[in-house]
Symmetry: C3
Subunit: 274 residues, 3 copies
């Protein structure tokens, strides 16, 4: 059961260092607070090593990468590796520009990540160079369907084996895999794709889960993915009831993360392990 | 009737490249998603040409311009011009500093814009150097009133003729003009001036409308302006009913854009063509 | 009674220049609009002196400081000092890195601040180098309790005397002190620590209060702190009633600032002067 990984986040309240994009940064900070963790954002080379040293985990998101923040990601990542802190990568838009693809690959080469979370196009870009990202969204041609699921699971396990990193591929169906096992998760709601930041928030929250549960990275990542999807379902219900739209949905989603408890996550998580 | 221009946005789901300020960037991304488009934010010179190439339209907003992003605006704009993509300029705070005024003018000199949207002070600054911007708000002395309306319409048409660009001057009364015709629009609510980002969001959304309706730029721009004003009215009703304030109003406004359909826009748009 | 200081904000609608972090910048802009002021954000060295010249007050927040924005803070601050504009410092995370601590100290050395607002760990770091900041949050060991209150009040008065600056130390109990008098304020709710930006928003709003009430800086700062705490209490009631969470709380908090009036602030402010 996955609820206990949430409990550990609330009990340990890990401080998470975020080098992230300026589009969804506020939502990332609030969802970290919602799940019981604490955020700090810092991306200047003059302080990132020191900041990451006082934190428990590091979240690197390349959503609005630039020439100042890329070296900061490398510096912070190396220090986090030295200290044995969990690191997560969100390769936003890998495949959409050479700068994004090359930066993501360079980060993978120079750093040891604990988890990589992205959509299928981004992850395929990193693994085999063949993803065709539509901006920051997955390309329809890459979509995980009933027909392709088995193949995508095998791909995720292989990529995990090659990198020594837990791989989280999120979309209508989510796959969280290490070299041997994969959680196939069906929580979630399509409206999550109609707000900016669903992915970024999940990555930030996963950083908190793996930091508070460093001995169970696969399960903790799956727990974060289930929690996000489950809260998306609940937030959609409120949105529909209130005749609201995507902006209110975003608030309800963070609110549900704030209110989620262990037993609800245990009951609401929908996954199989393959 | 303007509703069909909204339908085209939802049908085509254009990907919009935004080089915009960090104050309202999240709202701009969410309103693009709300109206049926997709956003990508990118402002590093190392990737902006490539990013704009995979998009349908470009939104340039100088709200927090700096020495790194100004060259990115020029690079992206030139590429968008080469590719024949619609580009919109939001000259936030032109008139408030020499850097803003000169940057806006340089962008106008070096790039061919499809639409410029600003408040009356910003547009006057660009056209005749005489606007007196109060920070990022229009100066009261510049306000469009019943007495000055005819003159402002003539000014907008002239500036459109001189630049070959559709001009959208927004405020209590909105004017959307090309060289020959002007929509005078009375949708909207004063509380829209009590949130940050009403203007930035409208500019971003207009980028989507003109990208999905590139053969009808004047009408598509007017449709976006009417949609924003109409949704502002509806969002105000919800705000009043809930005894809420400006922060909730912002959410309701984006929610209404999310829920707006063709027939509501047809029925609710209030404008004359002069 | 403190309500009149709010009335002055609404009557004068001061324009506030903000050099602030990209995490909470949107909330800072919206709370300035909510309380009756106007925000402008600008951090490029090429324009900050000019921008601050057209404003009434300046808000410097080091939450995501970097090598580009630090010189902008100094330039803007010197110009604001020359012009006699009120300036407020929010030393976010001072104590969490040498860059933050040294930047905050350099700003204090080179500029004359009207108010400094931070948590107890940040303020202790500035005053005596002994604060132990946990990221951007106060360390529990530094907490202001019944037992330590007298000592913290004496410390705040001394630090105010040494710097000639009103000192606002906020937390469960807030202390606003000049060299001779201190307001001890008990408004507020613990959920305010579960959103990002409670502190940043209060600093931004205080900039508006001291700009509109430059002859009564101590009282105006206390009024802003009481207003924030009181609105936090009211926003919590709405959050609880709606079974909502921290994201909705943030909206309700800004909404309450928008709706607050003089008599409510007079009635709801809870403080003693010592």
């Amino acid at each position: 059961m996955l609820g206990k990984y949430l409990d550990n986040v609330r009990a340990k309240s890990p401080l998470i260092h975020n080098i992230t994009n300026y589009v969804t940064v506020n939502d990332c900070a609030n969802i970290l607070l919602a799940c019981g963790a604490s955020p700090i954002m810092s991306d200047d080379c003059g302080e990132v090593e020191e900041i990451t040293s006082i934190c428990g985990g590091l979240n690197i998101n390349i959503g609005t990468l630039n020439k100042e923040t890329i070296p900061a990601m490398l510096l912070a990542g190396k220090k986090a590796n030295e200290l044995g802190h969990p690191i997560i990568l969100d390769p936003v838009g890998a495949g959409a520009s050479a700068l994004r693809t090359e930066t993501a690959k360079r980060l993978l080469d120079e750093l040891k990540f604990t988890v990589i979370r992205g959509n299928i196009s981004e992850i395929k870009t990193l693994a085999v160079g063949s993803g065709s990202t539509k901006g920051v969204d997955a390309n329809v041609a890459d979509a995980v369907t009933e027909d392709t699921l088995e193949g995508v699971v095998a791909f995720a396990k292989e990529f995990s084996k090659a990198t020594g990193t837990v791989i989280a591929i999120t979309g209508a169906t989510d796959i969280v895999a290490d070299a041997n096992r994969a959680f196939v998760i069906t929580n979630g709601h399509p409206v999550m794709a109609r707000i900016t930041g669903s992915g970024c928030m999940l990555t930030a929250m996963t950083a908190a889960y793996i930091t508070a549960n460093s001995d169970n990275v696969l399960e903790a990542t799956a727990a974060a993915v289930c929690a996000m999807g489950l809260c998306g379902e609940k937030a959609y219900d409120t949105t529909a009831k209130n005749h609201a739209g995507n902006s209110s949905f975003r608030n309800y989603l963070i609110d549900e993360i704030y209110r989620l408890d262990e037993s609800e996550l245990d009951k609401g998580a929908r996954y199989t392990i393959v």
